[in-house]
Symmetry: none
C-alpha cells in the first residue's frame, strides 16, 4: 500500500531544491543558479527543472523574474505547516478557528461602517434555516455570514487564515464525522450582530464565544465516544 514513491525526476528535483532552501544554503532574497546550471547539477533537463521551480513558486518558496533570475522568496514551507495543523484534532481546529472568530468580531466592532451592519442583517435573513435549500446550501450561507464578519475586521491575514481553517475543518469533518455538525440558531446570530453594532468589542467577543461554546462542548462529547 506504499509504493515507496517510484522515483519521479521532477519530484526529486523539487525536493532537492526545497532542501537547499529550507536548509538555508540559499538564503532568503538570494538568486539561485540559473536553469542551465541547475539542469547540470541535478542531471535533468531544463524542462524538468522548470517544472520543479514552478512547483516551488506556487508554494511561495521561490520567485522568478524574467530576464533576471530566480530568487528565494521565503524559507517557510506552508505545506509543512498545513500538514501539522491537519494532524491536530478537529476539536483543536475548531477552537483555533473560534479564536479567529472572536478576535475578528472585536476588530469588526471597532472598524465597521453602518452599511456593514445592514449587510450582516441581510445575510442573516438570507441564511434562513436548514429546511430551505438543503443542508449543503445552508452551510454555505451560514459560512457567508461568518466570513463577512471576518472581512469586516479589515485584516487580510485573518481573512486568509479563516479561509484556511474553513477548508481544513471541512476536510476534517468530512473525514471524521461524515459531514454533519450542529449549528446554533438564528437568534444567536442576531445577538452577534447587535453586539458588533453596539460598538463594544468585549460584548462582541463574548457573544461569539457564547455562540461557539455549545458547538465545542458538543464536539467534545461526540469525540469522547
Amino acid at each position: 500500500m506504499q509504493p515507496a514513491s517510484r522515483t519521479n525526476l521532477t519530484d526529486s528535483a523539487t525536493e532537492s531544491l526545497r532542501a537547499e532552501i529550507l536548509g538555508g544554503r540559499w538564503s532568503v532574497g538570494a538568486r539561485i543558479p540559473n536553469e542551465a546550471a541547475l539542469s547540470d547539477q541535478l542531471s535533468v533537463s531544463r524542462g524538468t527543472v522548470r517544472e520543479a521551480v514552478r512547483a516551488l513558486v506556487s508554494q511561495g518558496l521561490l520567485e522568478t523574474r524574467q530576464g533576471s533570475g530566480t530568487y528565494v522568496r521565503s524559507a517557510i514551507d506552508p505545506t509543512a505547516a498545513l500538514v501539522r495543523v491537519r494532524r491536530a484534532c478537529l476539536r483543536d481546529q475548531w477552537e483555533a478557528r473560534t479564536a479567529l472568530d472572536v478576535e475578528a468580531a472585536r476588530l469588526a466592532t471597532l472598524r465597521h461602517a453602518p452599511a456593514d451592519i445592514e449587510r450582516l442583517n441581510r445575510l442573516l435573513a438570507e441564511r434562513g434555516t436548514v429546511a430551505d435549500g438543503g443542508q449543503n446550501n445552508f452551510v454555505c450561507r451560514d459560512l457567508a455570514f461568518h466570513k463577512a464578519i471576518v472581512a469586516m475586521s479589515g485584516n487580510r491575514a485573518m481573512v486568509e487564515l479563516y479561509d484556511f481553517f474553513t477548508a481544513a475543518i471541512a476536510e476534517t469533518i468530512q473525514a471524521t464525522l461524515g459531514g454533519d455538525l450542529p449549528e446554533p440558531d438564528a437568534p444567536m446570530h442576531a445577538q452577534i450582530v447587535e453586539a458588533i453594532a453596539s460598538g463594544d468589542p468585549d460584548r462582541a467577543g463574548d457573544a461569539v464565544r457564547a455562540f461557539m461554546a455549545p458547538v465545542l462542548s458538543q464536539l467534545d462529547r461526540h469525540l469522547a465516544q
Copy 2:
C-alpha cells in the same frame, strides 16, 4: 507599485485549470483532458500545460498517473490561503498573531498547571534584556516566553499556527524593516504571567492586548512614513 500582474502564460493556464476545478466543472476523482487536448484548448504549448498542471499537483488539487492520465484530487486548496497570508502586510500579520496570543493566553489561564507558572517566571528571568547576548539571542528568548504561553493553551492547531506566524513575521520584518522591532519591557511580561496565574481569562486577554497595542501603533506610524 502594482504591476497589475503582467500576463504570464503558465500562470494564466494555471488559473484556468484551477477555475475548472473550483467551479466544479471537473468533479473530484474525474480525469481531466490529456496534455495535448489542454494544450489545444488553452492555446499554449504542452510544456506550459505541464508546468501549470505541476503547480496544481504541488498544491494538492490534481494528481497525475503516468500512463493513465491526470485526475482531480481535491476541490479545496488550503495551502493557497497560507501562501496568501504571507503576502499580507506586516501590520495585518502582527495583528493576526496578536489575536492568537490573546486567545491562547485566555485558554492558558483556564488550563494551566501551577508548574506552568513557574516555568513562565523562569523564562522571564532568563529572558533578561537586550544587553545580554545581543539582539538576536534576545528575540529568541523573548519568543520562547510567548511560545510557552501558546503551548499552555493545550491546542496543537494554535501552536502550529503560531509557529507559522512567527516565522512568517520574522521574514516580513527582515524584508520590510531590516530587522528591528520595538519590544515591550519585562514588567509588561510579568503582568501577563500574573493575569494568567489569577485564573481570570478576561484579565489575561486584556493584559496581552495591552501588551501588544503599543507595538502595533508603533508599526502603524512606522509604515505610515
